[in-house]
């Protein structure tokens, strides 16, 4: 048998390898975050949140239309995605023998892995082509395509964590199955389901690609979903590839605001799950 010291040494060596690996993986992320914060914070000011973009070459202006647009587009997208995502999650978790499931599960997984730009294309064909114009609604639909499989997956897994005996207790009272699911099982998994909704929102809010030919972008503030609408990732992209120094600074500021929104959503999600499923 090997000596105790040798085994301790081996243990420390493996721990060291794991720690180095973790640092290497996290380093680029930390650098990007740090760089964005350093560059972005200095460019954040009141105008950034209250004003619209200025014409090229003019200094100043802000991203109010993009901030509002991102909130409206992701919010609407969430409203569209919620019933489908939760419904699919319920079907997968509660009716494992349903005939739809062998199709639904791979479909949901594929949709989850499908490039976001293709989802934009789908929304383009469905809404922009038929309505004849770019619109916030088409952007929201593209966002919903991103959210549905994420919501379905998280809903399915948290429903499966709800103890079986809760369903039996409900059924033994003479309640129909759908009643048991909606009134007893879903509330027991509430924290996890809400977390799934928030994570899906955070994920979708950062996407630019699906909005390029749907929401399209707009320098004017609008709440009308039939109009083209601005969004932070879109404005960030447009400003980052522009030749203007001032726009570059604003792009960094947009990155900080976007990160802030996503971090807040994720924190909210964690808060909802504390001590629960």
């Amino acid at each position: 048998m090997r000596s105790l010291q040798a085994r301790y040494a081996r243990d420390r060596l493996i721990l060291l390898v794991v720690v180095i690996g973790t640092i290497l993986a996290a380093l680029p992320l930390a650098l990007v975050l740090g760089y964005a914060l350093v560059n972005g914070f200095s460019s954040l000011n009141w105008d950034f949140f209250t004003k619209g973009p200025k014409p090229p070459g003019e200094l100043g202006g802000g991203m109010a239309p993009a901030i509002v647009g991102t909130l409206v587009i992701t919010g609407t997208g969430l409203l569209i995605a919620m019933p489908f995502g939760i419904g699919a999650g319920i079907l997968l978790a509660e009716y494992p023998d349903n005939r739809l499931n062998p199709t639904l599960r791979p479909l949901s997984d594929t949709l989850n892995g499908m490039p976001a730009i293709l989802k934009g294309l789908l929304a383009y064909v469905l809404v922009v082509k038929t309505q004849g114009s770019f619109s916030g609604l088409s952007g929201a639909l593209a966002m919903a395509f991103i959210m549905v499989p994420i919501i379905a997956k998280t809903t399915e897994s948290v429903l499966k964590l709800v103890p079986w005996h809760i369903r039996e207790a409900g059924l033994a009272l003479g309640l129909p199955r759908w009643r048991v699911i909606l009134s007893l099982v879903l509330p027991a998994a509430r924290g996890g389901v809400v977390t799934g909704l928030l994570l899906a929102t955070a994920r979708a809010a950062g996407e630019a690609a699906p909005l390029i030919f749907t929401a399209f972008g707009n320098t004017l503030l609008t709440l009308d979903l039939r109009q083209p609408m601005d969004a932070l990732p879109l404005r960030l992209y447009a400003y980052a590839i522009s030749p203007y120094e001032d726009w570059h600074r604003q792009a960094w500021a947009a990155a900080v605001v976007l990160l802030g929104l996503i971090v807040m959503t994720s924190l909210l999600a964690r808060w909802f799950t504390r001590g629960r499923l």
Binding site: H165, I166, G170, L171, A172, L173, G174, P176, S183, L184
Partner: protein, 275 residues
């Protein structure tokens, strides 16, 4: 000695009850009930009467099929895709497995209490008791209040919780939770109450309180109780069925089955030679 007499039919091996008490009525009757899990039989060809306003105990060693049989009575096996039930279960003469019979209706008439207390964790004490009523559309507060007091009183829990009806159900002790589950089952006024080892997760004092309850409860509802505790069967039941390897070996009035068992295997079990 007893108002009942039991004897085994030599042809079928099934036990028949010769009643000397004409007031005895059959609420539930199992006829050749077989439960298959895949190719394996959990329960084979069981015939058994369940008498109105009596407590019937199902005893036998672990894995003998007593719980499997119990769950066949209110169609709980419907939820297990691999389980298949054949035979008939007559509730007041109507086969609950007949085509067109809604299992949801069956379970409203045949309630169930489980081995581990399982109150709905998201609901209050009050919410648990009225769950069965509220979720089928009874909303009138006076009706619900009445049902809560009645059910909790029947379950001998009212005095302990009447001042905190809206407290979370999980704030109760294990024994109280189990009585809450009994109250929840009673609130929908079932005709039969199935109890699957309702005291096996409880301490002796809680067990005692639930046993005391059964004697009172049988005036309102017909009870079938699965227990692995023979003393319990002896204390609470009027009739007892002894299961072994999926067969109903013997069925009869509890006092007869425990004092003069007809079958050697029953005798071996109740005298503690196996089990």
């Amino acid at each position: 000695m007893s108002e009942f007499e039991a004897s085994a039919n030599p042809q079928t091996g099934h036990t028949e009850i010769l009643t000397l008490d004409p007031s005895l009525k059959t609420r539930l009757e199992a006829r050749r009930v077989t439960v298959m899990y895949g190719q394996k039989a959990g329960v084979k060809d069981v015939d058994m009467p369940i008498y109105t306003h009596k407590v019937t105990a199902l005893i036998g060693p672990s894995g003998c099929g007593k719980t499997t049989f119990l769950r066949a009575l209110n169609r709980m096996h419907d939820l297990t895709p691999s389980a298949r039930v054949t035979g008939e279960v007559l509730l007041d003469g109507v086969n609950v497995y007949a085509p067109g019979v809604d299992p949801v209706e069956v379970r409203r008439k045949i309630g169930m209490v489980f081995q581990k207390p399982n109150p709905f964790p998201t609901l209050s004490i009050y919410g648990n008791v009225v769950a069965g009523l509220r979720l089928v559309g009874i909303r009138k507060k006076s009706l619900l209040d009445e049902a809560v007091e009645r059910a909790l009183t029947q379950a001998a829990l009212w005095d302990e919780v009447k001042d905190r009806l809206h407290a979370p159900s999980m704030s109760l002790s294990g024994g109280q939770q189990q009585r809450l589950c009994i109250a929840r089952a009673l609130a929908v006024e079932p005709e039969v109450l199935l109890m699957d080892e309702p005291t096996s997760a409880l301490d002796p004092i809680s067990t005692q309180s639930i046993e005391d309850l059964l004697t009172e409860l049988k005036n309102h509802v017909t009870i079938v109780i699965v227990t692995h505790n023979m003393q319990q069967a002896g204390r609470v039941s009027d009739f007892t069925g002894f299961f072994l390897n999926g067969d109903l070996v013997e069925f009869g009035p509890t006092n007869l089955l425990f004092t003069t068992p007809k079958d050697k295997r029953t005798e071996a079990y109740i005298t503690g030679r196996f089990g």
